[in-house]
Symmetry: D2
Subunit: 367 residues, 4 copies
Amino acid sequence: MSSSAGRAIRYTLFGESHGHGIGAVLDGIPAGVEIDEALIRTDLDRRKPGASRLSTKRSEDDAAEILSGMREGRTSGGPLAFLIRNADAHSSDYDPDLPRPSHADLPATLKHGSAVDLRGGGRFSGRLTAPLVAAGAVARQILMRRGISAGGHILSIADVADQAFDLSKGEGPDAALLESFRREYLPLINEGVRGAMETRIERAKNDMDSVGGAVEVAVIGLPAGLGEPPFEGVESALAQWIFAVPAVKALEFGAGTAFARMKGSEANDPIVLRGGKPAPGSNRAGGANGGIANGNPVIFRATIRPTPSIARPQRSVRLSSMAEEEIIVKGRHDPCVVPRALPGLEAAALLSLLDLIVQAEGVAWMR
Amino acid sequence: MSSSAGRAIRYTLFGESHGHGIGAVLDGIPAGVEIDEALIRTDLDRRKPGASRLSTKRSEDDAAEILSGMREGRTSGGPLAFLIRNADAHSSDYDPDLPRPSHADLPATLKHGSAVDLRGGGRFSGRLTAPLVAAGAVARQILMRRGISAGGHILSIADVADQAFDLSKGEGPDAALLESFRREYLPLINEGVRGAMETRIERAKNDMDSVGGAVEVAVIGLPAGLGEPPFEGVESALAQWIFAVPAVKALEFGAGTAFARMKGSEANDPIVLRGGKPAPGSNRAGGANGGIANGNPVIFRATIRPTPSIARPQRSVRLSSMAEEEIIVKGRHDPCVVPRALPGLEAAALLSLLDLIVQAEGVAWMR
Amino acid sequence: MSSSAGRAIRYTLFGESHGHGIGAVLDGIPAGVEIDEALIRTDLDRRKPGASRLSTKRSEDDAAEILSGMREGRTSGGPLAFLIRNADAHSSDYDPDLPRPSHADLPATLKHGSAVDLRGGGRFSGRLTAPLVAAGAVARQILMRRGISAGGHILSIADVADQAFDLSKGEGPDAALLESFRREYLPLINEGVRGAMETRIERAKNDMDSVGGAVEVAVIGLPAGLGEPPFEGVESALAQWIFAVPAVKALEFGAGTAFARMKGSEANDPIVLRGGKPAPGSNRAGGANGGIANGNPVIFRATIRPTPSIARPQRSVRLSSMAEEEIIVKGRHDPCVVPRALPGLEAAALLSLLDLIVQAEGVAWMR
Amino acid sequence: MSSSAGRAIRYTLFGESHGHGIGAVLDGIPAGVEIDEALIRTDLDRRKPGASRLSTKRSEDDAAEILSGMREGRTSGGPLAFLIRNADAHSSDYDPDLPRPSHADLPATLKHGSAVDLRGGGRFSGRLTAPLVAAGAVARQILMRRGISAGGHILSIADVADQAFDLSKGEGPDAALLESFRREYLPLINEGVRGAMETRIERAKNDMDSVGGAVEVAVIGLPAGLGEPPFEGVESALAQWIFAVPAVKALEFGAGTAFARMKGSEANDPIVLRGGKPAPGSNRAGGANGGIANGNPVIFRATIRPTPSIARPQRSVRLSSMAEEEIIVKGRHDPCVVPRALPGLEAAALLSLLDLIVQAEGVAWMR
């Protein structure tokens, strides 16, 4: 496995859903950086189970203990280690002999053999985004002092769509909008769709089914010139982290898949003067050309597949007997993980972009 | 910048479009592996300019000299270094003071200052996929002996769409189909759209415009269990490489963005017995769950933006005077880079997946 | 900082001496590997404070909790995370304004500013070798099943020297000798020097002084051909880890510094037949040529400087006033850290060599 | 193999002694940095064969072509690629079936099989330090503008010893002395030993033997606080590179192995005020404590084994018949590689320390 990402700021994840605990090590933050632990808690609360009646009933307190790297509200120069103890685990819900369709159960068993710990999804559980959110909350505080903010909204759930960010302008959303997103379980640009979206999730639950969706995230305030292409270009660096968040199956920058149907004359962002500086006058590129940030917001969309755990009968194979068998996935499952994936995606974006900044600028600016 | 990718098999790219040469170092291949240099040439020929009347007229021979790592048709145990000399460069076509919209010109100048070499696109040029294709041809030969093949087709150009791979079956395309793709400039599943697609590209050329499109790539024969999640999971590992290919703006696995509108009961791939082994009976996941290959083909789609170089007037800013100015991009440009991007994307996929195999299995199997 | 080492087997260290806890994440071990936690405890006990009357009186239980990656005595496929809580910390002994000579205090303060946590040596404390020993104990168990053992003895303390390994033979020490070393606080080849060595340490203590020394470690059973030169050659890979162990100031392989005075005809190891296979008939090279293991034991010596903490008056500078001031280092200190460094050096060797094996062979052999 | 080192500044080596060419890629230098190619040539000339009558007669021009990354005397922002063509190769001198004692021949053949290219030492040849010196010359120019210089002298050849750097002072050697070293094939502090040293080398040649020795290198002007411990601490980072230089078998910092015989009261460097700042008043530590530069020069010693190639009969084993056989190594060999290793060691030091600076500070300062 490969549990680390980042080159200058290095994040290492550990833990399984039903083991003793989950956590992460965040290496590369210099000493003397003020970190408000309450804000880490705030971010963790956004993704914790039970944050909404639309979510799973598994109740985990999900408080992250900071084992090292902090002293009296400031970083100490050593790596920050986060630990979240596991508590409310109903392991008996899981039968390792009967893999759940579209979960990691089958490929993980083929890879690791029967010793792999898949209780509660093991290390493939969405729960593993909690340490990511904790580490991302550290990155968020550091970046915010530089005027860099990240925030996202629910672009769609099934057939209910929010309005998208406006790519016809170069400027993109402002910090206040992004901040307001963080106060909602279902952050939306168009409040008018909230009811329909909630209803759609509840219907999935009542149908013993689940629904997918998409989120759209903007990062504003990034320095033009950021990115280390080709292999640590803005899109490449982000993509490695984004696809590490469970259930993500597509990633688009700016106009994304719509570029395929465009002409160059429609797709190009003209270069204009903005505040006396040259900048793209629209943002179809999503904030980067050639892997380098162009001064516009970085805007990406991630598609989240429907929760594979559904209470309806599905086809599976009992591994011990190699016989096909019907499976009904038990346990408490989110009918829609899109809202809970969003904080993890923001954290992934913040950490990967902080890494790129430190690759270019070092760490002295953080203090 | 970050010119290297891969952990066990490490690819390092160098060169600029109008410098002395471009090339790459491929590290990690053990000694004694037979490599047919003629097949490297075959792959390079697919992406070279002038391979089709639909392409740019820049004529580069694009033969890769292997400087090291080979001896008498076998690898020697040292890194393979490829060198492609630059020849047909018309540097006078480029004015570094007037950045071309939607190229890397503006962000690269903001990053690097005026010393950056952007002649012919510098290191952001699509030409830099030539060493990738050369290295990918090495990976292709090695993987083919294990029964692993990669091939892709043009999924769409503007509004002309080919048929997609059939995700309702687990098996996916066969090696013969993938091989046949490699003989065409515009590989297609549905031959019936060839004429319309060619016409669409020619029309863009005549309109002094360009068009975008999408490609769809399948990799078959991968061992179930491949992938090192979270950060070197199949999707994460591929994504870092794929987004390093110029002009890629979206990446989807399996059903991709369509997952957003699905219910779990529609999106899940049932587990069935195939050839006596458990395997997903359909392939909406695109070959991986939880970042681990599930035994089905890995199928991804990449969206390629329209060539930003168009002969129509566009808005830009003259950097020395900070005045807005109209720009007409000169030079010989592809009206559609989608066909030429495809070999690079296949190479990126082959190299990243070879890297994952070596991470898990080491190198002894290659000999 | 850079708290991670290894490429295929990745070790990430966290913690400070007087924070909540110290620990490490060990990534890359496949699922299904039996690990005896009692043996981890055994190795930890070797380095813990108070293991001998010759050592510091700080009493830490130093039990490592395995937070993740293990289930019912077998690895689960996820990273192993170790946590050792800090307990017996007397922080009041330390004055951050008056750096202790030859400690990290001064350079760490110049690097990090006053926020750096140097209580008890912070993350520079020898205590940080405890997680290394815990992770090394996992490597040791895995390697032992392949017939690979590591063990070391005290080569010298001040002017009292043990006999060195015999480099005139290719075979080197046997596993029984190496195993016997691990039962002693002062492992020795020549038991006759034990009394003198103990006396020398006690004298240093009584003199309010400290003493340095050297250790010699052998790793036997390594496969010939191991090593990934140039930058992950046997010596390079080991060296990065060995110099990360506090107080190490010199590292020698085989004849080491004695090579400087030799002629080629004296230094060369002839190639002979041993057990029907070609092998070096002596081991002046210390087991590797050109960075590749040659089938002989890898033998290295590390010099450990005297503990900088001595109770005698020394010169320092008060940072707040920039005035020279006499310092008397308080607290409980080892008069000689050589015996306690040895388990850390063995662990470093085991982990770096395991990493090299996995780089070449992958992980399947471990199960 | 692992042909890359460095994290922020990344060096990738390629080539074999008798292949088409050798070279390297140096990634991470920003655009706009002036580099004088003539100074690269000057550094290369120091290590080229035939630079002295004491050296091998193989004559290679060893001019490095810069394939990319430079334009009109400035870096362009892309990786610098160096190519040195091979010319004067007498491959017939080498018999791959009869491994030369203490060369990489035997372990490399055991690792790679018979396909490994060992002609002229293959990629294990000292010749592979030429690209290192070329890349190091780039680092040297960049660092010199910051007041950082590296230089070394021959500490000893066999039993003829130069005077060592004076560790009783904190300041260390000055830039003028280090610069003067670079003008000599045998740079020395004590000119009085030059004759004896030259005679010693010539005697080895006449005796059909070789001699080892040691070099001592100082790096002055480094910022206090440099180093990313534990695993990229000053010593760890340097060590990985230094042991990648062929024939290095020991590495010592400051007092090095002499620490083993010292008391703390002798080994400690007092902290004093120097130029109004706190600094170690002596330099027994060799410039770093806890892996962090303390403001004093970084001083290290490397032991270079005697050239294994000697014209005297030695024992070996013919691999095809597995019979012991006498070998007389033919070809043109240096009786002492110590002087030619020195430029490579300086280059290794410069590159690894530049990497550490960029890890901490980013790249903007270089322009």
